[in-house]
Each structure stands twice: as C-alpha cells, then as structure tokens.
Symmetry: C2
C-alpha cells in the first residue's frame, strides 16, 4: 500500500524510525487546524498560545443527513466513511461511488450504489430509536456479536515490540504535544506505526483511521490500534468492527469495555506507558 518494505517480524530501534516512515504522520503542516490566541497566566501576565480548532462538519449518506460531528476538520472524507463503517450504516454489499467534501458548507456527502435500500432502513431506525446515534445498540451490536477474532500464532506480539511502538509514538511530534486538548490514534503493523490521526474526540480519531482503511482497502486483521484515550465500550466495539486483534491504550478501561473485548476475543491492553502495561483480555497474543 505504500511501497515501503515493512520488516514486520524483526524488532528495530525506535530511534531509527523517522518522520517520513509514517504513511500518514501527525498533521502538523495544516495551519488551519490551529491558531494563536491571547490569554492571561496566574500572575496576570498576558500570554500567547497555540490552540486546536474544532469545526462542525455534517455528514450526508446519499440524500439523508446523518450527524453533525465536532472535529478538528482534517481528513473529512476518512471521518465520514469511517463513521458510517463503524456505525454499520454501510453494508458489506454496498459500494461507495463518491465521497464529496464541500469545505465552504462544511459537509461531506458519501454516495453509494444502493441509496433507496438504506433510506428505508434509516426511516425505520428513526421510528424505533429517535436518533441514528441510538442504533449503536441495534445493528451495530448484531454485527459485533457475530465477530470472534481468530487467534493466529504467527501474529503474537513480543512485548519488546510493543515497547518499541509505544516509544516511537511518544517520540513523534504531534498536535497533542503542540496544542493539547486532543486525542491520538495510531494504526500499526506489528511495531511499525503507519497512520497517526488526532481529533478532539477519540471516536473521531479512530473513525478517521477506519475511513483510511476502508477507502484504501487495508485489512485490520494483522494490525494494532494504539489510542491515547480510554478503552470504553465504544472504542472496543469500533476496534472489533475494524477486525483489529490488538488494541493498546496509555489510559484506563471500563468494565463494559473489558467485557466486550473478552466476548470478541480482542486483546485489550491498558495503562501502557514506558515499559509497563496491563492485559485485560486475550493475553495469548502477547509474548512476555
């Protein structure tokens, strides 16, 4: 997908990993994502600081408005497709024919080859739940319940590789390090980081990764997902729907997140900082 030779099964020195080794690095060059403002510090002195923007971007699936997302605004096409994918609003047989982003109107339209089928479904959903968001516990959970992530012995991750991955991510200059107030998500192949997405909501960051994967036909079954955010049920469900077997967070986790991960046989790793971590489910994928 990138032409880069990935030495997936060899550990490498984290310091050797360079900015241009990322398929998509943190988005530090798009100046529209941040701006400088004046504030006052605790001594009463004025100060200048860079802060992150958030914008409302509306998502349409064919003729139907789905949701307005608050996002930093980069990769709106990935966010749109990833959101629809992780909400199971795009069905496997449904083909995306176009993804159009209108910057002026702040909206994305995703067009598919079977619009009428979908719109009927949405009408039914609104009737039953009052909110497209509310379908998380309808179709999404039906699909989630069918997934059992297989355990492939060849895909066991050595903890040294995990430490490497965590170190590379920590050393990578990011929007978070520059302006704070956002979450990051990294798609990795073993200990090779590929794509670094950031957003005001951790669900947007992971949806942008899902959209990147869907549009570029990247499979999840040999990947690792790293997130700075907590491992709640929402994050676990999205990861499983993306077919990713190992999810790592530097933050904590909830009981329902752990329960769902165990049900789907997802390896859930929390509180991963430096050379410490906790495995909450499916520990067989980690080689200690």
């Amino acid at each position: 997908m990138t032409g880069k030779a990935h030495k997936d099964h060899q550990a490498f020195a984290a310091n050797d990993f360079a900015a241009n080794d990322w398929v998509i690095p943190p988005n530090l060059t798009d100046h529209r994502l941040k701006s400088s403002i004046k504030g006052m510090d605790h001594h009463g002195n004025s100060l200048n600081l860079n802060i992150i923007h958030e914008r409302a971007i509306s998502l349409f699936l064919n003729g139907q408005e789905i949701i307005t997302n608050m996002t930093i605004g980069d990769y709106p096409e990935y966010l749109a497709v990833g959101y629809l994918h992780n909400q199971r609003m795009l069905k496997p047989h449904e083909r995306i024919t176009a993804v159009e982003y209108d910057d002026e109107l702040s909206l994305v339209v995703v067009r598919t080859d079977s619009p009428s089928d979908y719109e009927q479904k949405l009408k039914k959903k609104i009737h039953t739940s009052g909110c497209a968001q509310g379908t998380l516990f309808g179709d999404v959970m039906d699909d989630f319940d069918k997934i059992q992530i297989p355990l492939d012995e060849n895909q066991q991750l050595d903890k040294v590789k995990l430490y490497n991955l965590i170190k590379i991510i920590a050393l990578t200059p990011s929007l978070y390090l520059e302006v704070g107030a956002i979450h990051g998500c990294v798609l990795a192949s073993h200990d090779r980081p590929l794509v670094y997405m950031e957003d005001v909501g951790r669900h947007n960051a992971v949806d942008k990764i899902a959209g990147y994967m869907a549009i570029n036909h990247i499979s999840g079954d040999d990947k690792i997902l790293y997130t700075t955010g907590r491992l709640t049920s929402e994050m676990v469900i999205k990861s499983v729907l993306m077919d990713i077997p190992i999810v790592v967070s530097r933050s904590g986790f909830t009981a329902f997140g752990v329960e769902l991960a165990r049900k789907a046989n997802l390896t859930l790793i929390g509180r991963a900082r430096g050379e410490r971590f906790m495995v909450l489910s499916a520990p067989d994928r980690i080689k200690i």
Copy 2:
C-alpha cells in the same frame, strides 16, 4: 439548600474541608459502580484490579425515546433531566411532573405537563437533522446566542480561593483516583465545593450537575464549575446554558470553546493545576 452555613466570602484552609462538607461527595459507597477483574501485568503475572462500570440507560421524554447514554449509572434522574435541560428539550414554561427510573429496564422517563407540544417539535427536528443529537446547532445555539453572562463585581474570585478549590478537589478521594477511566465535575460556590459528579463521559458528569441544579432549583449565577475534562465547545455551551459564570479545567481547551466563551462573557480557565492556570476569556472575574 443544605442547611450548611457557607462562609462564601472568606478563604479557609483546604485541609479543613472534610468529606461530610460535600452536599454530594464522590460516589464511593455504591458498589454497583465498579467491580474487580483479573488481568495480566507486563511481567506476565496475574493481577486484580477495580474497574468502573458503564451501562446503557435510555431516556424517554413523555412517550418519545430521546437517546441511549453510556453512563456509570448513578443518579440516572439527574442525568436525564440535566441532558434535557442542556439540550434545551425542556422549555422554560414546561414543568416536570415526574421523573421515573426503572432499574431493571435501564430507562428513565421524564414526564412534563406539555407533552404534545414537545413531540411535534421532535418530529420536526428529526425531519431536519436526522438525529436529536444534531439539534445542538439548532435550538441550543439559538438560546446560547441570547446569553450574555453579566459581570458582577461582588462575585470576583480571588486566585487564592481558586487554589483552595483546586486543592480540595485534588485531596478528595474520588472514583477517578480509585478506578480511573472517568471524568469528574464539581459544582462550587466560590471556593466551597458542593457537588462532585463523575462519569465515563465528561458531558454526562456535567449533565448530572445540571439535573441536580434543575431539580433542586439551584441557580448557577453565583457558582463555579470545575471539570477534569477538556474545555470543548460542548462544555462551554452547557456551562453557559446553566448560567454559570466561571468554568475551570485542569485540562486544555479548543479554539471554538474559547471563542464561544468570549462571546457569552464566560470566564474560562484552563490547565489549572496546583498554583498555575490560564484565563482564556473574561479575565475580569478573577482577582490576581
């Protein structure tokens, strides 16, 4: 409201503030909020740890299902009423006649004296936005745009009191300190903390405070809201709709959050830790 004498305009030693001085302290006694699970540490040893529960609770306004919220599940009535209040789904003239929580079915029904009026509105909203969540930028913003928080010189907050408040909150045993993976929100009267709510989402924690205020007829105009979460547009909008003039976070802030705070004349304080903080808008309310 509590029978406690609040010495609002005198600083006091943070260490003197005791657990029973809270009107509602962190919810450490409800054992249903957490459970013990087994995990594996980075050495491969098994470990036991306490984790927080999240539950799906559905909210009905009269006969209409509004949303399913993922929440830790304490104070479902406050969460329901606060959500409706902050989404402007309860109009000023509308009187709540009952709030019923069904633990077995995990749903809250809020009943009002003008159900038919509301249901018509919701039908219109679904038609225009596809999702009740999406109305944030409809009615909510119309109301938000009308609010200019007045500057009352008698309500200027001395930074020493702010330090006191931050210290008390930091010293208070919380679910966060016990199990992690949740956000906290504190309603305070000057440097006197009153109510400490925690939840998996910072929006739920602030909605529970809004519900507490609405049900107990507590006004916001002489209060301070402290949150562990970031100051995004959503947090700023909710705070302004609650008539609270000063919002403090130990985390960062987004450009849109700051912009909205300046528009409404809300004092926004970010990165407040120990004796450091930044004031991003309406600094006149803070006495340095």
